[in-house]
């Protein structure tokens, strides 16, 4: 390291979530690199680099804006490939909300494993390292042959629960069997009770019958999940918990995708609050939904970037949230 010329962090921001990039940049005490990306009138994406990235440590921050996933992904791929051809030493794609994370297995005949495709595309474009947050399935890391750092919002959630509630009064609830591991981990850290809701899903984006396993009576039920999309699951789960005697119900979710009628669904639900991190740009949703609370995840991401750049261990961040 000392023999080489010192290189710097170059933070490049895509168009999907500039607020997050600005927060990360501020935290790192640097400026976002000068770049411009735009769509030509024929809708092709164009990206221009306005400063040298030669032999620098490039971090490209691109989330996936709801409804514009493919646009953001294409822009990210073009940005990576542009930095690769501009002789960057290392390119790290910082993708807080990994796109297509739910299409991670061949669950039907001829279903695409799009998460694997995205992983391959990122590597083809030239990404040397991936930083992401709460992957829907951590096995997605195996789709890559480059290092993937999967950060967790869990430490931030633990702090939020400890600051706002008495853990003794709480029950951590997983809204589906797949998320049980995530929820039990939080329950273990807080030393609280745990419950699980079993659901049937007849079609995508539609939720079927739900069954509660465990006791939530006279407790604050805290639903924990990795993403809230149309919020159908969460709202139904909240109703089931309320029916089973929960004092109040709130939900802690890493990625607030909140697509379709999510805001209306939330506003009309028994959920007292939905706590999300800012991995996904929320736009005006915070104004439209008084139940929505946002935890800033940028300190964790910024610290991961700093540690990655300096070659320090990132595992500290799996259990601690920087303030």
């Amino acid at each position: 390291m000392s023999a080489e010329m010192a290189n710097e962090i170059k933070l490049i921001s895509g168009r999907s979530h500039p607020e997050l990039s600005d927060k990360i940049a501020k935290r790192l005490g640097i400026e976002v690199a000068r770049t411009i990306s735009l769509n030509y009138s024929n809708q092709e994406t164009s990206f221009t680099v306005g400063e040298s990235v030669r032999d620098e440590d490039v971090f490209i921050v691109q989330s996936t804006a709801t409804g514009d996933v493919n646009e953001g992904l294409m822009e990210l791929l073009i940005m990576i490939s542009a930095c690769r051809t501009a002789s960057a030493r290392r390119i790290t794609a910082v993708i807080p909300n990994f796109p297509y994370a739910r299409q991670d297995k061949k669950d039907k005949s001829r279903a695409p494993i799009s998460a694997r495709l995205v992983a391959n595309m990122l590597q083809t474009a030239g990404a040397n390292h991936i930083v992401t947050c709460d992957l829907h399935a951590s096995q997605i890391q195996g789709f890559f042959s480059v290092p993937v750092d999967n950060l967790y919002a869990e430490p931030s959630f633990l702090r939020y629960i400890r600051e706002n509630f008495n853990p003794e009064d709480c029950v951590i609830v997983s809204p589906d069997a797949g998320g049980a591991k995530r929820a039990t981990s939080i329950a273990d850290h807080l030393n609280t009770a745990f419950a699980l809701i079993h659901k049937e899903r007849p079609r995508p984006n539609v939720v079927g019958r739900m069954v509660l396993v465990g006791n939530v009576e006279d407790k604050v039920a805290i639903l924990v999940d990795d993403m809230a999309d149309t919020c159908g699951t969460l709202v139904k789960a909240a109703a089931v918990l309320k029916e089973n005697g929960a004092k109040s119900v709130l939900a802690l979710v890493t990625h607030g995708i909140l697509s379709g009628n999510a805001i209306e669904t939330l506003n009309g639900s028994v959920l007292s609050a939905l706590v999300v991190t800012n991995t996904v740009p929320l736009g005006d949703k915070v104004q439209r939904c008084p139940k929505l609370r946002v935890i800033d995840i940028s300190p964790t991401i910024a610290e991961a970037i700093r540690r990655t750049h300096n070659g320090e261990s990132v595992s500290y961040l799996f259990t601690h949230a920087p303030v």
């Binding site: 000068r34 411009i36 030509y40 024929n42 804006a65 294409m74 984006n205």
Partner: protein, 438 residues
Amino acid sequence: MVRNIVVLGGNSHPALVDSVCNALSLPPCNRILTKFSSGESRCEIQDSVRGKDVYIIQTGFGGNGSRLNDHFMDLCIMISACKTGSARRVTAVLPLFPYSRQPDLPYNKAGAPLFKAGSSDNGRKDYTFESVPATPAPGIPKSVGLTNGTDITSKLLKTSLTNGTQSPIKQLNGDGYFPVNGVNGTSNTSPVKQTGAYTTHDYENLSHVGAFQAKPGYKQWVAQAGTLVANLLNCAGADHVITMDLHDPQVQGFFDVPVDNLYGRPLLKRYIAQHIPNYKDAVIISPDAGGAKRATAIADSMGVDFALIHKERRPTKITDRQNASMMLVGNVQDRICILIDDLLDTGNTITRAAKLCKKEGATKIYALLTHGVFSGDAINRVQASAIDKVVVTNSVPQDKHKALLGSKLDVLDISPIFAEAIRRVHHGESISVLFNHD
């Protein structure tokens, strides 16, 4: 009926998929191809593709409410789904190859236009990069990378002022039919979607790029996405690519798999022979030096005269800019002009060329292009131009353009060419006969 073959269509051009399937007399593959409410593509292929020869038709065109990048991702997902579904071979059929036209770089041998504006950069023009660490001096930030705030703003202020004074000249540089779009100031942090605001020519127009300025001492450059697109198709699993009239034939070299570049030329030639009266006396014109080869090939084989328009992308400081920026080589006086190019995007090049031909005394002007994208205000521009007839192929959907342009637009059907190419590729026959065919 062709056996063991599956034709799968994307959402970009359903009409072409249908007519190709008709020509091959087989039904298109059943599939679900929509979007989840989160914006992710949802693709399910409902017919078996195991051991089959799969052709996926998706053109590089976004419009009518759909997005180009969505179509491209859909294509990659479909390819990958067929691959995981044990298809024997997957061929991507892209009538119009996306990102094939590399943008015009803002720099040429003569220098950097962006630095012309900022007189404050005079002293540093010669550096390709700043020395690290920078020599501390007034106006130069001490720590590299941490540009000191006042320095940038003063620079931006100066450049924007000079841009302001230059803008009237720059507007003349446009096509002359329409005032140039309002200044779109963008910064890298603005989340605003710019649809239809920029074209690949806009880097010559400083006012369009607005507030963006490269770091002093660094020559900005625009990402060239062509290679990336080729690599992504490879990585998705395409075993073969069929496309038509690539803007740069070199794109074929970006692929590790076979690429068949079909020509729209036979169709255009047939149109000239059948629909243009006394075409032997007409002049075939290439509106751009880059397309000269394409136009001379047609002119030679038909025995028609040829002329060329030399289009200077960056005009020098001469008052009569329309004449200064374009130059016609050849004689068109009292003759029919046939402009030939591969792509009509915003229509800037072709309408300017038509204007020049008219000025030089052309009687009638035809414009023959393989791909008619008609993006931005192209429809209005063509409508107002000196072009009497625009002829394009249906490599991208033309229904809407036809409705707007009416009898000014003629559309040639390319589905027989693609159907024949698919049939021949499937049977392992030579497709070079399609290249020579008149």
